[in-house]
C-alpha cells in the first residue's frame, strides 16, 4: 500500500504538517491488552459505592425496574454501530424505532409532535426557552421554583448566548409580557405534584408559552401536560432507558404543539412511501426518513433552529422499548407502585420519634425528611450506618426544606433498603 501511495513510511504521509510542531512528545499511560483493561476497570468500578448499598438519592435521577429486553434489544449491533440515518434505504431500523419514540413521547406528554430526542432534560428545556423566545420575540423567560438547579443552570448557559434574561419566579402570576415562556417542573424539584392548568392559564394570559419539564415515568399516573395546557414538554428519558450511570448518557425529551413544528430543534423522522413499487412487484412500501431538515444546521447553517447534530438515539430506543414493554397498564401499575412504596416508606419515617416529613402538597416519589439534627449531620450519621441519604436541600428557600433531606423511594427500591433506613434512623433518632 505504501508503495502504491508513493511514500516510504507512514510518517511521510504527514509532510504537510508544520515540521516545527510534528511528532511532539506526548505523555500517555502504557497500552493495555484486553484482560489487563478489564482488570483495571473492574478495579475502578469497585472503587464506586457498592451497587448493593441502600441509596435514597433522587433529585433528577431515579432507580427504575427496566425490563430485561430493553438492554437485550438495544445491544443489537445493528442499532449500536450505525450512525444518523442519512441513507433511509438501509437505516429503517433506526428510523422506524425513532418514529416509535416520537409516537410514545407524544402520547405521554399529550403533545402533537416530538423530535427524536436531545442531549438531556436540561438542554432540551434550554432549547424550549430559545424556541419560545424566537416564537414570541421576547427577551426573558420565567422558571417556576422549585425547579432542578441543574436545569436552571443550563437554561442560563444557553440563554446568555442568546441574550435572554432568566427570572426565577415562585408563582405563575409573576409571568409577564416580558416573558417568552413560563417553565414549570412536574413533579417539582422537591417532589411535589404541580397543578399545571392554572399555570398554563397564567402563562397564556401573559402571552407567554407554557413549558412543562415532566418526569415521563410520573406521566404514567399524572395528567398529561398537553391536556393541562402546555405548549412544549421536555423531560428526561434516561431513567427508563437503563441504569443512572452517574447521569449519562441521557436523552432529553422534546415535544410541542403542532404550530411550533417548524421551530423545533433536533432531528425529526417522518413517514412516507417508496417512489416506485419494489422490483418484484407489489405496491410501494412504507418507509421512514429524516424530514423537515430545512430547520437544521447542515442545511440552514447560521439560520438553523439549533446546532444539534449527534444526539442520543440509542438511549431514545431503550426508553421506547421500556415504555412499550410496560404498555398502558404496566406503566400505570409501575407508577402507582412507585407512589405507594414511596408513601409507605415516608409514613414509616414520619412515625419515628425525632423525625418529620414536611409536606408541600401531594407528591409522587420524593419526600422531605427533617431530623432533630442539621441535615448534613443526619446524612453523615446515615452514611456511617451504610445508608446513602437523600439529597441535602437545607439551603433551599422553601420553608419545608429547612434542615431537610430529599429522599427518593421508587418501585425499584428494595424493601431491605427501606428497612435499613428505618433501622438507621431509629438508632440516630434516639441518639440525637
Amino acid at each position: 500500500m505504501l508503495e502504491r501511495v508513493g511514500v516510504e513510511d507512514l510518517d511521510a504521509l504527514f509532510a504537510d504538517l508544520p515540521a516545527a510542531y510534528r511528532d511532539p512528545s506526548i505523555d500517555l499511560p502504557a497500552q493495555l491488552t484486553e484482560p489487563e483493561l478489564i482488570a483495571l476497570l473492574e478495579e475502578r468500578a469497585a472503587a464506586n459505592a457498592d451497587p448493593g448499598r441502600p441509596n435514597f438519592l433522587g433529585a433528577g435521577a431515579y432507580r427504575r425496574s427496566i425490563p430485561s429486553i430493553a438492554a437485550h434489544l438495544t445491544s443489537r449491533s445493528e442499532f449500536v454501530t450505525a450512525y444518523t440515518p442519512y441513507q433511509p434505504e438501509i437505516s429503517q431500523g433506526t428510523l422506524q424505532t425513532a418514529f416509535e419514540y416520537q409516537s410514545v413521547v407524544c402520547e405521554l406528554t399529550g403533545m402533537d409532535v416530538s423530535n427524536t430526542g436531545l442531549y438531556d432534560v436540561a438542554s432540551a428545556t434550554a432549547e424550549a426557552c430559545l424556541l419560545a423566545a424566537r416564537a414570541t420575540r421576547r427577551g426573558a423567560v420565567a422558571l417556576l421554583e422549585p425547579i432542578h438547579p441543574g436545569t436552571a443552570d443550563v437554561v442560563r448557559t444557553y440563554a446568555r448566548g442568546a441574550g435572554i434574561r432568566v427570572d426565577l419566579v415562585t408563582s405563575g402570576d409573576e409571568a409577564t409580557e416580558e416573558h417568552a415562556c413560563l417553565v414549570a417542573q412536574q413533579p417539582d424539584f422537591l417532589g411535589t405534584i404541580v397543578d399545571l392548568e392554572p399555570l398554563a392559564e397564567a402563562a397564556h394570559a401573559a402571552g407567554a408559552l407554557f413549558v412543562t419539564v415532566a418526569d415521563p415515568f410520573a406521566l404514567g399516573l399524572l395528567r398529561s401536560p398537553g391536556d393541562a395546557g402546555a405548549d412544549i414538554v421536555t423531560g428526561e428519558g434516561r431513567d427508563l432507558a437503563g441504569a443512572p450511570a452517574y447521569g449519562g448518557p441521557s436523552v432529553g425529551l422534546f415535544a410541542a404543539r403542532q404550530q411550533y413544528l417548524r421551530q423545533m430543534p433536533g432531528r425529526i423522522v417522518g413517514r412516507t412511501k417508496e417512489l416506485e413499487a419494489p422490483p418484484d412487484g407489489g405496491e410501494p412500501r412504507t418507509g421512514y426518513v429524516l424530514t423537515l431538515q430545512a430547520r437544521e444546521q447542515f442545511i440552514r447553517r447560521e439560520r438553523a433552529t439549533s446546532n444539534v447534530s449527534t444526539a442520543q438515539a440509542l438511549i431514545a430506543l431503550a426508553f421506547t422499548v421500556t415504555v412499550q414493554a410496560l404498555g398502558p397498564r404496566g406503566l400505570r401499575e409501575a407508577a402507582e407502585l412507585c407512589y405507594q412504596r414511596a408513601h409507605a416508606a415516608a409514613a414509616r419515617v414520619a412515625a419515628l420519634p425525632g423525625f418529620a416529613v414536611p409536606e408541600r402538597g401531594p407528591w409522587f416519589q420524593e419526600f422531605l425528611v427533617r431530623g432533630s439534627v442539621p441535615a448534613a449531620t443526619l446524612a453523615a450519621a446515615l452514611a456511617e450506618r451504610g445508608v446513602t441519604a437523600g439529597l441535602d436541600v437545607s439551603d433551599r428557600p422553601e420553608p419545608e426544606a429547612r434542615d431537610a433531606l430529599l429522599f427518593a423511594v421508587t418501585e425499584a427500591t428494595p424493601d431491605a433498603h427501606v428497612a435499613a433506613l428505618i433501622a438507621a434512623l431509629t438508632e440516630i433518632g434516639g441518639a440525637a
Partner: protein, 495 residues
C-alpha cells in the same frame, strides 16, 4: 419471480401500535400488598396512555426484525466522510456497563464515585496531552455541544475584557461543518464566511482583510473537511491573536493527526473533540456521543461545569471554574461514552494512537490513488483522513448525480459516503475509510465506485433507480416534508 415471493409484506406500515392486541403484556409489574395510600385528586391524574400491548415475544420479534434493516459498522465498510465510522471494540461496551459504573448515582458524594471520577480524570489528562491544551471539560454531550461551550467561553472572555459589545463577528470557512455557523449564531454572533483557496486551504488575503476589532473568533476545522491540512494555520493563529480574537478549533477530524501534532502547539485557544468518532465509541444510530472541550490556561476559567480536579488528599473532585459559562447538562456528561473512550485510549497508548492516525491517512490515500481518474478530484493532492471526490463529470456527461452514485453503492454492499458536503465541492463524494478497514475492503470499495462510474456511462437508468437490493427502494422525501406524518396515529399531528 413474484410467484416465488408469496408474501411481499409492507413491514413499515405496521408499527408496534398496529401490532397491538388488548390484554397482552411483555412484562408484569409487582403488586403492592402494603397499605394503600389514596391517590392525589383526580384532576391531577390522567386516563390511560395509549401504548401498544404486545407479548414479550411479539415485541422482541418486532425490534429484532427492525434491527435487521439497519446497516452498521459490524455489517461492513461505512466510509461516511467526516463521521469516522471505525470498528468499535466490544470490550469498551463491556467495561462501561460494569455494575459499579452503571449504578453510580449522579448526586452521589464524590467519595462514593471515585472509580468513575478517577477514570474521567485520566481521560481528561490524556486529552490534554493529545491536544496540547492544558484545561479540559468533559461535559459536552456531542461535538456541537462542545462547539457551543467553546464559543460561549470566548463570549465570557470577551465580556471580561469589555469587548463583547464590539466583537460581534465570527469568521467561519465556507468548507465548515454546518454546526460551526449554527453554533456561532446560537451564541449571538454574526457569521462571516471565509473562502477556501485553490490549494484547499483558507484564503489568507480574505482573512487578513476581515480581521479587525469586530472579530471575536475564527472557527477552523483541522484537518479541514476536504481531508487536507490547513496550510499555515499556525501563522493564521498569530494573525488572529494579534487582532485580539480567538482561534477556535473543530477537532472532529482528530483521527487524522492523533499523536502527530497538537492543537495547542499550533496556537488554538480552544478546541472540541468528537470522542464518538476519533475514540471509537459506537455511534448508536445518532448518539450518544461526547464532545469534550479543551482550552488554554487563559480560557480555562470559563470552562463549562463540571471540571475534574484531584485534591491534596488524592480525591478526585467535580468543581466549577470560577468564571464558568455554567452547566451544559443537568449532570456531568455522557459518562458511559467517556468510559468507553478511556478504555479505547488505554488499549492503544501513544504508539497505538499514532498507528491509528497513520493507518487512517494511509487508507484514505490508498483509496484516493485507486479511484484516481475515475472521478474528478477538485483538490488533487495527498490527503489526510478522508478524500473528497466530485461527481460533476458523471452529472455533466451522463446526467447521473452523486445522489444516484451513492444509492447505487448500496447495491454493491457498501454504506454510501457523505454526499454534497463540504458545500464548496460540487456533487461531493466525501470518503473516509478509517484505519479499521483492511486493504481488501478499500480495494473492493474502489472497484465498486469505478464500476459505478462505468455504469453511469453505459446504464444510467440502473443508477437512477438504485438501490435495487436494499430493504427498501428510494423513498419519497418530498412528500414526507410537504405533508409530514410524524407519529402514530397518522394525522393526529394535523400535518
Amino acid at each position: 419471480m413474484s410467484a416465488h415471493r408469496p408474501r411481499s409484506e409492507d413491514f413499515g406500515a405496521q408499527l408496534s401500535f398496529d401490532r397491538s392486541t388488548a390484554g397482552r403484556r411483555a412484562v408484569d409489574v409487582p403488586s403492592w400488598d402494603g397499605e394503600q395510600t389514596p391517590l392525589p385528586d383526580a384532576h391531577l391524574l390522567r386516563d390511560a396512555v395509549r401504548l401498544p400491548e404486545l407479548s414479550q415475544g411479539g415485541l422482541v420479534r418486532y425490534y429484532t426484525a427492525l434491527s435487521a434493516l439497519n446497516y452498521g459498522i459490524d455489517s461492513g465498510t461505512y466510509p461516511l466522510g467526516s463521521c469516522t465510522m471505525k470498528y468499535n471494540p466490544k470490550v469498551d461496551d463491556l467495561v462501561a456497563s460494569l455494575p459499579g459504573f452503571a449504578t453510580a448515582h449522579p448526586q452521589a458524594a464524590e467519595e462514593d464515585a471515585q472509580g468513575t471520577l478517577r477514570t474521567l480524570l485520566e481521560l481528561r489528562r490524556g486529552l490534554a496531552e493529545i491536544t496540547g491544551l492544558p484545561a479540559v471539560s468533559l461535559a459536552p454531550a456531542a461535538g456541537a455541544h462542545g462547539e457551543l461551550a467553546g464559543v460561549l467561553m470566548i463570549t465570557r472572555a470577551l465580556e471580561d475584557r469589555g469587548e463583547l459589545e464590539t466583537r460581534r463577528r465570527i469568521l467561519v470557512p465556507d468548507s465548515a461543518h454546518g454546526t460551526n455557523p449554527a453554533t456561532a449564531a446560537m451564541a449571538g454572533f454574526t457569521v462571516t464566511q471565509i473562502p477556501t483557496g485553490p490549494d484547499g486551504s483558507l484564503d489568507r488575503a480574505t482573512i487578513e482583510r476581515e480581521l479587525d476589532e469586530t472579530v471575536a473568533a475564527m472557527m477552523v476545522t483541522v484537518p479541514n473537511t476536504l481531508g487536507l491540512w490547513e496550510n499555515g494555520i499556525e501563522e493564521v493563529a498569530d494573525l488572529i491573536h494579534e487582532a485580539g480574537a480567538y482561534l477556535y478549533g473543530d477537532g472532529a477530524n482528530l483521527n487524522a493527526i492523533m499523536g502527530r501534532v497538537r492543537y495547542g502547539d499550533l496556537g488554538f485557544d480552544v478546541v472540541h473533540l468528537n470522542l464518538h468518532k476519533s475514540f471509537s465509541t459506537p455511534h448508536g444510530g445518532g448518539g450518544p456521543g461526547a464532545g469534550p472541550v479543551c482550552c488554554s490556561e487563559e480560557l480555562a476559567p470559563y470552562l463549562p461545569t463540571p471540571v475534574l480536579e484531584e485534591d491534596a488528599a488524592g480525591l478526585v473532585r467535580l468543581t466549577a471554574p470560577e468564571r464558568s459559562i455554567g452547566r451544559l447538562q443537568q449532570f456531568h456528561g455522557n459518562i458511559g461514552v467517556l468510559i468507553r473512550a478511556y478504555a479505547y485510549m488505554r488499549a492503544l497508548g501513544l504508539a497505538g494512537l499514532r498507528a491509528v492516525s497513520g493507518q487512517a491517512v494511509l487508507n484514505a490515500n490508498y483509496l484516493r490513488v485507486l479511484m484516481h481518474g475515475h472521478y474528478d478530484l477538485p483538490y488533487d493532492r495527498p490527503v489526510l483522513h478522508e478524500v473528497v471526490f466530485s461527481g460533476t463529470r458523471q452529472r455533466r456527461e451522463y446526467g447521473v448525480r452523486t445522489y444516484d452514485i451513492a444509492k447505487r453503492l448500496i447495491d454493491h454492499g457498501f454504506h454510501p459516503p457523505t454526499v454534497y458536503f463540504p458545500l464548496i465541492v460540487e456533487e461531493a463524494l466525501m470518503l473516509e475509510p478509517t484505519e479499521t478497514e483492511p486493504p481488501e475492503a478499500i480495494e473492493a470499495l474502489a472497484e465498486a465506485l469505478i464500476a459505478i462510474a462505468g455504469e453511469s456511462a453505459e446504464d444510467p437508468e440502473t443508477l437512477h433507480g438504485a438501490p435495487w437490493t436494499a430493504p427498501l427502494g428510494r423513498l419519497d422525501e418530498a412528500t414526507a416534508a410537504r405533508r409530514p406524518v410524524l407519529r402514530w396515529p397518522d394525522g393526529k399531528d394535523g400535518g
